[in-house]
Structure formats: C-alpha cells, structure tokens
C-alpha cells in the first residue's frame, strides 16, 4: 500500500502544487476583500472564470490577426495576462459599485445574498456571450506551450515511477510566485498598501487619518479581481477547456484555502492554497488505496469540504490568523 502511494508521490506533488498555486492566487482575492470589508465576495470565483474567458477571446483575436506566430509565446502569454487583469479588475470594481456599495450599511445577510446574485448573473452572461459566438458554452482554447518533459525519477530510485511536467505548469509556478511576491511588497511596502492595512484594521479611524476609504476599497477590489482574472488565464492554459461554471466550486475551494490560512491574512492565503491543492490531489490519487477501494476519488470534494468545515469549527481564525473577540 505505502509503496504504491510513494510511487506516485512526485507526480502527485507536481499536480498538487499546480492546482495549489491556482487556489492560492484566487484565495488572495477572497482574503483581501474580506480583510477590508468583512465580506465573502462570492462573485470572486466568477471573476476568475471571466478571466479564463477573456483569455480565450483575446487569444482568438491574436490568432485572427496573425500575431501569435509573430510574437514569442511567452510575450503573448504575459500580454494576455495583463489584458485579463485589466478587464477583470474593472469588472470587480464595477461589481463593488453596483452590488456592494449601496449595501455597506445593510445587514451581512443581505450583502451575502447580493454576492450570490452577482455570481449567478455573471455565469449566465458569460454563457450568453460564449454561446452566441461559438454555439456551445464549453470552449477549448489554443495552447501557447504544449511541451511536456519527462522526469526519469525511476532511474534515481526504484521507489518512484517517472513523473512528467508540462511547460505550462512551470509557467504557472513562475507567474504565481511573481504575483504573490508583488502583492506582498505592495501591501507591506507602499503607501497605498499601508492605507489598505489601515482600513482593514479600523475603517473609521483610517478615514479620520485622511485616508480615502472608498478609494482604498475600490483599489482592493481592483487588485483582488485582477489576481483572480490572471489565475483564470493560467487555468485556461493549463486545462485547455473552460465553461462558465468552473468558477463556483473552484471559488469555494479557494475560499477554503483562505480560511485555512487565516482569512484576511495574505501570506496565510498563499500557504492555505498550496496545502489544499496538494491535499486534494493526494486524496484523489490515494483515497481508493487507503480505504481498500470502498471510497474512491469521487469523494475528493467531500474531503475538501470536510477540511473547510473542520477548520471553521475548530480553528475559525485559521492557521495564521488571530482570533477576534466579538464586541457587543
């Protein structure tokens, strides 16, 4: 039993890290918005999905214009990410303006209901567009990098089988790391980042300190959504097929990651994402082996939700978060 788990371990780690990197960057969006507004921005999963569709649209435009063959693949990749970030960032700001700002003083329940509403509207609007343009809402996107590398691990030790890695997976790692480091520097070293942290700590006091709270909130939504959108691009390139419903469950899992790391905590979200990705991949590869075939890979989502529920019940402040006493 253990030998077969060990055999696939390198491959599980590679796949898990790729998935985890995606969860981590999406989780950043949840965590930033929560840190400032104490709102779970449910529409974030859909912003991620929109990013994936923007990627496909831009890629088709590039392809139509013949630019793809003229430009090096990495350049088009970076360009597409930037475009997707701009579009989804703007979308995030728009959502905040229309569906959240009028409700800032309303009970939390109402805000959450509005967030769910936005999420469903986005799913269907994207579906209209995709179906109108292509006749089907499941869309395949051209791949920029399709190289695959075999890692001959079995020659190192007979414990392992060979693993393989896609060029795109490496690209995901690179982009995710750049984004996370960039965000960390932005939040901790810049003036605007400082303003964000101030608003997160105490909105009213921050506004007394001549910080424009509305601007900070808009900026937070822009950055959080842009991060979500950029992950959409990575996702579309990694799996090659997208549909308007990819965002919901993935968003939930990314939220789980954010909770795991301590919601509101940026480094925690990165950590939570990676951990969740690896755990989920490990579960779906090994649940069958561990339970003697009684419970197979089909239970992996149950596994992910169980983690969420257990963390929320026993350590709701997450691994890196601080427990907050409720004030009356």
């Amino acid at each position: 039993m253990f030998s077969s788990i060990l055999q696939t371990l390198p491959q599980v780690l590679i796949d898990g890290l790729a998935l985890g990197a995606i969860y981590a960057v999406v989780a950043l969006g949840y965590t930033m918005v929560y840190g400032i507004l104490e709102l779970i921005n449910f529409a974030h999963g859909e912003i991620f999905m929109t990013g994936a569709f923007v990627e496909t649209a831009v890629l088709f435009i590039f392809q139509g214009a013949g630019w793809l063959t003229d430009m090096p693949a990495w350049l088009s990749y970076v360009l597409i990410i930037l475009i997707a970030m701009l579009v989804t960032g703007a979308l995030g700001v728009g959502i905040e303006r229309v569906a959240y700002r009028p409700l800032r003083k309303a009970p939390k329940l109402i805000l959450l209901i509005s967030a769910f509403g936005v999420s469903f509207v986005l799913q269907d609007v994207i579906r209209f567009i995709a179906e109108l343009k292509t006749g089907n809402y499941i869309i395949s996107t051209p791949q920029l990098f399709d190289q695959r590398y075999q890692l001959p691990l079995s020659s190192i030790s007979s414990w392992f089988t060979d693993a393989s890695v896609k060029a795109n997976t490496l690209f995901i790692f690179a982009i995710a790391i750049v984004l996370m480091i960039g965000l960390d520097i932005f939040v901790n070293r810049t003036k605007w980042g400082g303003a964000m942290r101030a608003v997160a700590q105490d909105r009213e006091t921050a506004s007394l300190m001549s910080i424009n709270v509305n601007k900070v909130i808009v900026l937070t939504f822009f950055i959080g959504s842009a991060l979500g959108g950029s992950t959409g691009v990575l996702f579309a390139q990694q799996y090659g097929t997208i549909d308007p419903y990819i965002g919901f469950i993935l968003g939930l899992k990314a939220f789980t990651a954010a909770v795991l790391g301590g919601i509101g905590n940026i480094r925690g979200a990165m950590f939570g994402g990676i951990v969740l990705g690896v755990l989920e991949m490990f579960a779906s590869s090994n649940l069958g082996i561990l339970t003697g075939g009684n419970f197979g890979a089909e239970y992996k989502d149950v596994f992910a939700f169980m983690i969420l529920i257990i963390v929320l019940i026993f350590k709701p402040e997450g691994i890196f978060g601080k427990a907050i006493k409720e004030k009356v």
């Binding site: 696939t8 796949d15 006749g135 799996y239 419903y245 779906s284 069958g288 089909e298």
Partner: protein, 395 residues
C-alpha cells in the same frame, strides 16, 4: 394602502380578462385547424446541448419532409421542442405539460437514460408513445412499458460489444475503468467491466470522477501506477476530451475508449490532436457510408448550417417512424387518431427502412436491427473512422 392595491389589482383584472379572452380566440382557432403535434425532449441547454440540439433538428427535418403529405390529409404538423436540461425533474415536469396537450401524439426523446426512465412513466399515464433516438440504459425498456421504444442498442449490448472489441481485437489484458458517476456513465462502465472480466481481462481499477471538473490528474495518477494497456471511460465527451489530453500529458499512452456519448464533434475540439488513437463505441452508424447518407447529410447541412451529429439521423428516423405510425393509426378515417392507437401502431412497426437503420420493435420496444459500431480517431477530425460493426445477437 390596501384599497389602492385592490383597485390596482382590479384594473389588472380588467386587462387580464381581455387578454385571456384574446388567448381563448387563439386556441379555438388552432383547434379548428386539425393540428398534429409531436414533441421532442432533449437537453437544449447544459453540457449535452450539442447532442440534444441534434436530436431536435433531426426530428424537425423529418417533420418538414412529411409536412406536405399531412397537409393533403388535412393536418398541419407542428414540432414542440422541450428542453429537459438533462434533468429528470425537468423532464417529468415537461412530460406532464406534453401529456396535458391533447394535440401531442408522440414524443421523440430523450437523450439521457436518466431522464427517459422517469419521464416514460408519465407518458405511460397519458398513453403517449415515445421513441428515443439515444437512450441506451437497459432499465428503460425492461420495465415493459407500452409507450417506450428506442431505435438504438441497449447498454447490455453496447458495453459487451465494446468489451469484446477491446479484448479480442485490441488485445487488452489489463483494463483501467473510469466513469463519471452519472446514470449513463456508470451503467455503461459496469456493463463493460462485467463483459471484459468474462472475456478474461483483468480490471486493475474502477474509479469515479465528477462531471464538470477539469482536473483529472488524481484519477490518472492511480491509473499510471497500474500501467494499464487499455482505459475505458464511461461518461460524456467534455470530460472524455480532458481525460484523454491529461492522460497523454502524463505519458499514459494506452488506448482510451468510451461509449456513444463521445460520438460528438466536441470531443475533437477539446482533446485536439491527442484524440488520435482514441476509440469509441456508438449506437449510431456512420451515415456517410450509407446509400442515402451523403445526400441526407448535405440536406441537413443546407437546412441548419451545421454538420449532423451522430444522433441527428436517428432522431430523423425516429420521427419518420412516429409519423408513419400516425398514418397507420389514422387508417382511412379523417379524424386525428387516438393516442393509444398511435402507441400500438408504433410498437407494431416492423422492417421499417430508415436512413440510418432498419427498425422493428420487439415486444418491449427495443429495435431488433440496432447495431453497435466501433470507431477510431485516425486523426483529429470528427467523426472517427469505422472499425467494426456488431449486430445484435438473436434473442
């Protein structure tokens, strides 16, 4: 306040009364016209909408071909397409609506067996015959309902036929099975598994995935450790395409085979060049090889601006069988036939020559001439090339 609401509602009532009397005029006008309606039920939205749409269009085409004939008899034909969304609940609710509309004499549908099974119970209540161009689950006809018929093969014929091909022709010894935990995927995968075991192959794994997922690396990692020489997938084309691609990414080069749900151009879009070498069994034949097939394909393309899918022609044939039965049930009379007469006439269909298949319904509504076809993607174009054609063993 309250009174304002009442007066408002009363005003609404006045409007409503006029508008409803307007619709009364409409409906009496249409009953005077002697309309015969046939409904289609298939998923026009959702993951299987390509095939669902194909069923609707195929049926529509046949109806248009027969319109003139029925006009001479004094009837206008009307197609009522319903969207079952691949959802049993929606299918049943639609079936009640269909049952309530006395002008509907038959149903062409559904795509998914999971929807066909509960909906057929409703049709049975109202005596509306249904002909499915696609549902393959054994349970559909095994319940011996009077209204249920299908022109395609059963799963306990398709699965074993695929297994026989895998073991005997491809020479598979160590088979890994993946299924999507839907009624269709699981039914097919189980039929395949049992038959493959009976043929002497070992089943080294039997795992489930979730519809709508995009990352199947977990399941494929399990497959990789078992080093299978053949992989069978029971599920839909969207997941199949990703599964094929991700398996090749991992360096799993064993042939991958699926069932009739892979018989869709969507598979090639998703899997791209990796689709080469993939196999699928289908209950639908390659019509371009059939005598009238090419002409039919050209007409379909002209009418709807797209290539037919595998089920299009089966829906066409189903509709033709249905209309044929209505004519038989009408006999020489001028009245529209009763539903139970149409139902019995459909079941009595013998040796009907369709475009894609001959049709003879047996006593539970299965088509005695149904065949299973095995296709292989020689290159990344749909449809694949026909590898084998397996006729149903005589009962």
């Amino acid at each position: 306040m309250v009174a304002a609401l009442i007066t408002g509602l009363l005003a609404g009532c006045g409007n409503g009364a006029t508008s409803s009397s307007g619709s009364a005029g409409d409906s009496t006008a249409s009953t005077g016209d002697k309309v015969i309606k046939i409904a289609t039920q298939s998923p026009l939205s959702g993951g299987s909408s390509i095939q669902g749409e194909a069923i609707k269009l195929g049926a529509q085409m046949s109806m248009e071909d027969h319109k003139e004939e029925f006009t001479k008899l004094g009837y206008s034909l009307e197609l009522v397409p319903y969207d079952d969304q691949g959802d049993p609940k929606k299918g049943v609710a639609n079936a009640e609506l269909i049952g309530a509309d006395q002008q509907v004499l038959g149903v062409i549908g559904h795509l998914n067996s999971g929807v066909s099974i509960p909906s057929s119970v409703v049709y049975e209540k109202y005596n509306i015959p249904m002909i499915s161009p696609a549902s393959t689950a054994t349970e559909l006809t095994d319940r011996k309902l009077k209204v249920v018929n299908r022109v395609v093969a059963r799963d306990d014929f398709q699965g074993p036929a695929a297994a026989e091909y895998a073991v005997k022709t491809v020479g598979a010894k160590n088979i890994f099975i993946i299924q999507d935990k839907t009624a269709y995927g699981q039914g097919l995968a189980e039929a395949f598994r049992d038959a493959a075991q009976a043929q002497g192959a070992t089943i080294s794994g039997y795992e489930g995935i979730t519809v709508g997922e995009k990352d199947f690396n977990g399941v494929l990692n399990i497959a990789a450790t078992q080093k299978p020489d053949f992989i069978f997938f029971g599920g839909l084309y969207a997941e199949a395409g990703l599964l094929i691609k991700q398996a090749r990414d991992k360096g799993i080069m064993a042939p991958i085979m699926g069932g009739d749900a892979l018989d869709s151009s969507g598979l090639v879009d998703i899997a791209g060049t990796d689709v080469k070498g993939a196999l699928y069994s289908s209950v639908a034949g390659d019509i371009s090889k059939l005598p009238d097939g090419q002409e039919w394909t050209a007409r379909y393309k002209e009418a709807f601006g797209k290539n037919p899918e595998g089920y299009s022609v089966y829906a066409y044939d189903s509709m033709t069988v249905m209309l044929d039965a209505i004519k038989t049930a009408m006999g020489s009379g001028t009245e529209a036939p009763a539903r139970d007469a149409v139902r019995d006439a459909v079941r009595a269909t013998k040796d009907f020559e369709g475009v894609a298949t001959k049709v003879s319904f047996d006593d539970i509504g299965d088509n005695a001439y149904a065949k299973v076809f095995i296709y292989k993607f020689a290159d990344a174009t749909y449809p694949g090339s026909l590898e084998a054609e397996i006729a149903q063993p005589a009962k």
